[in-house]
């Protein structure tokens, strides 16, 4: 699949890995542009649900990265995260998710090079694996009784002033 550009989502802590990625930038290191970074205060804040959701929303690979053990700005967040993700990995593996798509790493604020290495490796690995089909397919799967074929009938644009106001007030 030569044209496949994997979608990589990175959940990183602000103190170590985000700063490490900044360092990679200030050092003008180069890495694949496929990664989208979401900043968290700490890996301890990262809920497994986020990873699940990222896969559901089309990520082909997910990276979770934080401070090395003992370096956590909040003392123990990464230790808790480590246990949480050890368990979550086992669960994903058990239901048949390829763990090659989920990478965990410790990247400190001084490890710009390691950030580049981790991101590059994951991107290239996922590139050779191809798109992640499992969750994406699931997103579009329907029960037989829904008659999925019926979706996409006639459309209308709702833009009466009242409706517009109502919709605008939502978000």
């Amino acid at each position: 699949m030569p044209d496949f550009e994997p979608k990589i989502v990175a959940f990183v802590c602000t103190w170590c890995t985000y700063a490490g990625a900044d360092l990679a930038g200030t050092s003008r290191m180069q890495y694949p542009p496929n990664v989208r970074v979401l900043k968290f205060p700490c890996t301890g804040r990262i809920d497994p649900v986020f990873i699940l959701r990222a896969f559901q929303k089309g990520a082909d690979g997910v990276l979770v990265s934080g401070c090395h053990p003992g370096d956590c700005h909040y003392m123990a967040g990464n230790f808790h995260a480590r246990r949480r993700f050890a368990a979550f990995r086992a669960l994903l593996d058990f239901v048949g998710v390829d763990l090659n798509r989920l990478q965990f790493s410790w990247v400190s604020a001084a490890e710009g090079g390691k950030w580049v290495e981790v991101v590059t490796e994951l991107t290239e690995r996922v590139r050779t694996m191809g798109p992640m089909p499992e969750f994406k397919e699931l997103e579009h799967e329907e029960l037989w009784s829904t008659f999925a074929g019926a979706a996409g009938g006639k459309s209308a644009v709702l833009n009466s002033p009242e409706l517009k106001e109502a919709y605008d007030s939502i978000g």
Partner: protein, 665 residues
Amino acid sequence: MSRIGVFVCHCGENISRTVDVERVAKAAGEIPGVAFSCDYKYMCSDPGQSLLKKAVAEHKLDGVLVAACSPRMHEKTFRKATESAGLNPYLCEMANIREHCSWVHEDREKATEKATDIVKLMVERVRKGKSLAPITVPVTKRALVIGGGIAGIQAALDIADAGHRVVLVERDPSIGGHMAQLSETFPTLDCSQCIMTPKMVDVANHPNITLYTYAEIEKVDGYIGNFQVTVKHKARSVDQSKCTGCGVCMTKCPKKKIPNEFDQGHGMRPAIYVPFPQAVPNTPVIDRENCTMFQSGKCGVCAKVCGPGAVDYEQQDSFTVEDVGAIVVATGFKLYTIDRKPDDSPIQGYGEFGYGTIPDVIDGLTFERLASASGPTGGKILRPSDGKEPKQVVFIQCVGSRAREKGISYCSKVCCMYTAKHTMLYHHKVHDGQAYVFFMDARTPGKGYDEFWRRAVEEEEAVYIRGMVSRMYQKGDKIVVMGSDIQVGVQVEIEADLVVLATAVQAQDGADLLAQKLGISYDKYNFYSEAHAKLKPVECATAGIYLAGACQGPKDIPDTVSQASAAAAKVMTLFAKDQLERDPVVAKVNEKYCVGCFACKKVCAYGAIEEKEIRDRQGNLVKKVAYVNPGVCGGCGTCQATCPSKSIELDGYTDEQIMAMIESL
């Protein structure tokens, strides 16, 4: 519908060289909820900031996203600008399209695409963001110092000298700690008591210091700026307000043969006593377990001879509650003993040394007392068993320390230096004696330290044998020390008159219990943990509590004094303002849905989470829920990831924000 303004920065050419900023700005304009977007050469410049402020006013913006460099660079700048434009600063975010994009990619097309995605992502974050108000916490400008050794004394004096009130609590009848026990100090060999006692007197006389000796910490409530500490005043049996310190009671006490703790059990003291002559305060206490009056009800001599009538056999333990804003923990250390350890102790004793059954095997602190002019031998080196002057003394370093098989893997840091000092003191006092030292390494990093050690070896004739001792046993009046010299590669056997062990420096007994009261963390050796090994070496993870001295880990006197002053400086910084202002990125509990499983409390490294009772109007308990003390919360969010029902939420990083960001991918 939100009205967000997106400002895309060129950063000169730093961004615009690889990212088509105009296209990014245009794409941003089409994101639902974005009311304004533009690009500008230098957003961080004054004109850039004015542009931002103007746009906020003109377009009635309710959120700001600056797509520029790393937030670590300019987040503060733009939040300030946003605030001055009349918006809550936390409604301003930065999209990092420089460090994370233009600087690391060359393909203009892909970099532009990525920058657009980053902007989209961050717009969602702004859209779901909330206004946050900074948190203020009132500060009680009064400090508590726990422990009256050199660390506590130094910290108390520094804080008191800065004009703040200090409560100093010491467990023993007198302050002074271990330093008061020492004979002379390395690397200058000046007399410990000569430099220590004036400081002790300063403490006693300082108008800002309230000194509680023979007292312990019973309970600690509250949080930074607002601690309520209950202090238990153990019954002294002597009324401090009446006692003049004349000492008649001590001379008249019929029970005089009690081993003196201050002399490591080698001198004697009466049942009513001060630990040592220069004690501060100079008020005696009655050791009830050894007092005839308390044990059999018959005696009462001290009360009879006490002129002011200060002796009070009826005195009870009493309690006071102290309001303080900061706490300095300076509880010091104890020495490892080679005795058989209780079964539940993870630390092993030394069976090969006979588990402490050989009387002339002593520890370093005992040697200090033997060498001290005020000690039980008047400064003469005489061995405990028969009072003879030892002619062959074997010193063994690293007893317990750096011995993983004994359960302790750390270096006790001070032993190399004090053993060298001991050989010198011994050589000065017993000219025809020979000192041998078994050592693993000589660790002497410190000003003048290595010179000092070299002096012991080269000028004071101590024989240093690199190797460890495998066994020692009593043979007649000698102690046979069997060891190895690994440099020569032979077994060594020495018949010694006295063996001095440089036993490991350990955390005080009960250090863990005190830590639990304070809510601070400790390592597996019960040494207190600093918040950050490099950058916060005196702060505890629990805000408002600071560490000084060997309670944090083995330390010598100069290091201890430095850290004590550092802790004092931290306290003074805290006391410099009337109110403590904190970043509002803290967790909050949704009390309606919290079911009180307290998983959050279990994972909170800051001890910021408490149990709160919810009661109905009749006062019946409805349920218990978690409560986050915003003054203490560190803002890591581990609690939220742990909470099964997401009834606790970290402001600034809410699930709604994060989910919206993931959704936009």
